[in-house]
């Protein structure tokens, strides 16, 4: 039997504060039991040895997807990978 996680009332209030949620007294009681049960179920993952396993945060393998730069202004000068553009703010301002 996996370890039981027992959250406390102050845990629930702390999470609610982080998430900017206002809970009623009844909700605090309800989530206390339900979240403890769900977190206890997650303990199952400790059966899996992941010491040498890399993390997967996305599944496509795509990296740094960006649009081609489009020069919108005729006066833009390209220097290598950089562009010189007109100042956004007028210097006299």
């Amino acid at each position: 039997m996996a370890k039981q996680v027992e959250l406390t009332k102050s845990d629930i209030l702390h999470i609610a504060k982080l998430a900017n949620l206002t809970l009623s007294e009844k909700e605090v009681e309800k989530y206390l039991g339900q979240l403890s049960d769900i977190l206890s179920y997650f303990e199952k993952l400790n059966e899996v040895d992941t010491a040498k396993i890399p993390e997967t945060s996305q599944v496509t393998g795509l990296i740094n997807v960006a649009r081609e730069d489009v020069i919108m202004n005729d006066q833009t000068i390209k220097k290598g990978d950089f562009y010189t553009v007109k100042a956004v703010f007028d210097e006299t301002q």
């Binding site: 609610a16 982080l18 769900i38 890399p54 997967t56 996305q58 496509t60």
Partner: protein, 457 residues
């Protein structure tokens, strides 16, 4: 033949042969909606006039009314995500895949009900009341795309857009005896889809037949400059001989016996199809860890995505969140909070790698996996509402596919003794949708489960 009873293919033929007009098609479906919507609670917004474009790029599905899950933003048409937070939200633009359908000549007949924010497996988490299953109104239609599935089953539209983050297309397709494709992650744009869990959300299609499902899928799939996660890889070709595997973990003791028997019977039929080779049992050993992994990663992403709803720019404030949204926000906030990140989120991302590798290994040997969609037949309204963990277990056979980012096609496989639908899924490798559609079409040529319609009330 009433237009509402026809497939998209038959509707397009009928329109071409002038058996009926586009207006007659629309009003045939609209009458169905008006007749049954109060009883089944399927549409949150009904378009009395077709929502469409006057000029379109093509006419590939000209005059076909489509239902749209109310999680796709539609310009000028209220979009709620099934939540009271957005009950009055009118979007400024339309989702890419909605736009693609409109540009192909389709119209939107209405926005369909769903578990709020797509959080749920039964439709009962909608802040606008649950949708009823057209096969038996005492039962849930499955979620979270509850309205889209019930709308197709009740013949209120020939196809509907939906999303699948952990089973939300396949689960209700299975409970309503229709077809639904959860595409490869990134195959269909997420632009304009209200975000749930961004690394898993997969927009897709539900329809009456595999043929129709493929037709609509081909119109919406493809890269989108507004979604940097859309994939550019080549789709996989259909092999001359399709090799089918049976993942043994998906037929374990926890699976309801009637479901198991129906899917096993379907596999016997599949094995008799020419150029299909059922090679036998294969193993996905990390399947049992998928639900725990999923319910750490998904609420974590949810807690981040739903942080934007503060009532300042649009919608109501956070006191309008329903029970399940709050539960998931809290769960995710906890999993990501200081001191717990490594134990929960990081651990889950590592197990996700193992689940993904399970599929990669199996797809070296087979082209398609056949499995049940749901561990049980449809359940009754109210049966699981007070036990969130029991509701989460509904995703045991669908969630792993989302974690791996691969495609899966749900389709009818038969009925229980009490007349409730049983669905199965064809799971494929990344970009393997064509293989799934091909096998699905062949299966539907030799079976007629998909032609059975509910005797609504």
């Amino acid at each position: 033949m009433e237009p509402y009873s026809l497939s998209i293919k038959k509707l397009l033929e009928g329109l071409k042969d002038k058996l009926f007009s586009q207006e007659e098609v629309y009003s045939s479906f609209l009458q169905r909606v008006n007749k049954y919507n109060n009883k089944l609670n399927i549409f949150l917004t009904v378009c009395d006039e077709p929502y469409k474009k006057d000029k379109t790029k093509s006419n590939k599905v000209g005059g076909i009314p489509i239902g749209v899950k109310d999680i796709f933003v539609t310009k000028g048409l209220r979009t709620t995500a099934g939540s009271k937070v957005l009950e009055n939200y009118i979007p400024e633009y339309s989702a890419t895949i909605v736009e693609r359908l409109l540009e192909s000549g389709a119209s939107v007949i209405g926005k369909t009900n769903l578990d709020a924010w797509a959080h749920g497996a039964s439709g009962e988490n909608s802040d606008f009341g649950p949708t009823k299953n057209p096969w038996n109104t005492q039962y849930v239609p499955g979620g979270s795309s509850s309205g889209s599935a019930a709308a197709v089953a009740a013949q209120m539209c020939p196809a509907a857009l939906a999303t699948d983050t952990g089973g939300s297309i396949r689960f209700p397709s299975s409970f309503c005896n229709i077809v639904g494709i959860k595409p490869t992650y990134g195959r269909c744009s997420r632009y304009g889809v209200i975000a749930m869990a961004s690394s898993l959300d997969s927009p897709g299609v539900m329809a009456k037949t595999v043929e129709d499902c493929e037709l609509v899928f081909n119109l919406i799939a493809g890269t989108d400059e507004y979604d940097g996660t859309t994939v550019t890889f080549e789709p996989r070709p259909v092999p001359r001989k399709i090799r089918v595997g049976i993942p043994k973990e998906y037929f374990s003791e926890g699976i309801n016996n009637e479901v198991r028997l129906q899917v096993e019977e379907a596999i016997r039929i599949i094995s008799s199809i020419p150029n299909v080779d059922v090679v036998g049992e294969v193993s996905l050993p990390h399947t049992e860890y998928a639900v725990a992994t999923y319910y750490i990663i998904v609420p974590s992403e949810i807690s981040s995505n739903l942080a934007r709803y503060d009532g300042i720019r649009y919608g109501h404030d956070r006191s309008f969140f329903g029970d399940e949204a709050k539960r998931r926000i809290m769960l995710g906030t906890y999993a990501l909070s200081a001191g717990y990140y490594d134990a929960y989120y990081k651990k889950a991302m590592k197990v996700r790698t193992l689940i993904k590798q399970d599929f990669e290994k199996v797809f070296e040997k087979v082209d398609v996996l056949v499995a049940p969609v749901s561990p049980t037949p449809p359940f009754k309204l109210g049966e699981k509402v007070n036990d969130p963990l029991a509701m989460y277990m509904c995703d045991v056979l669908t969630g792993p596919i989302n974690l791996a980012g691969i495609p899966s096609l749900a389709l009818p496989a038969g009925f229980t003794k009490s007349g409730l639908p049983v669905g199965m899924q064809f799971i494929g490798p990344q970009m393997g949708e064509s293989i799934l559609f091909e096998l699905g079409k062949k299966y539907q040529e030799v079976t007629d489960w998909h032609l059975k319609k509910p005797m609504i009330i």
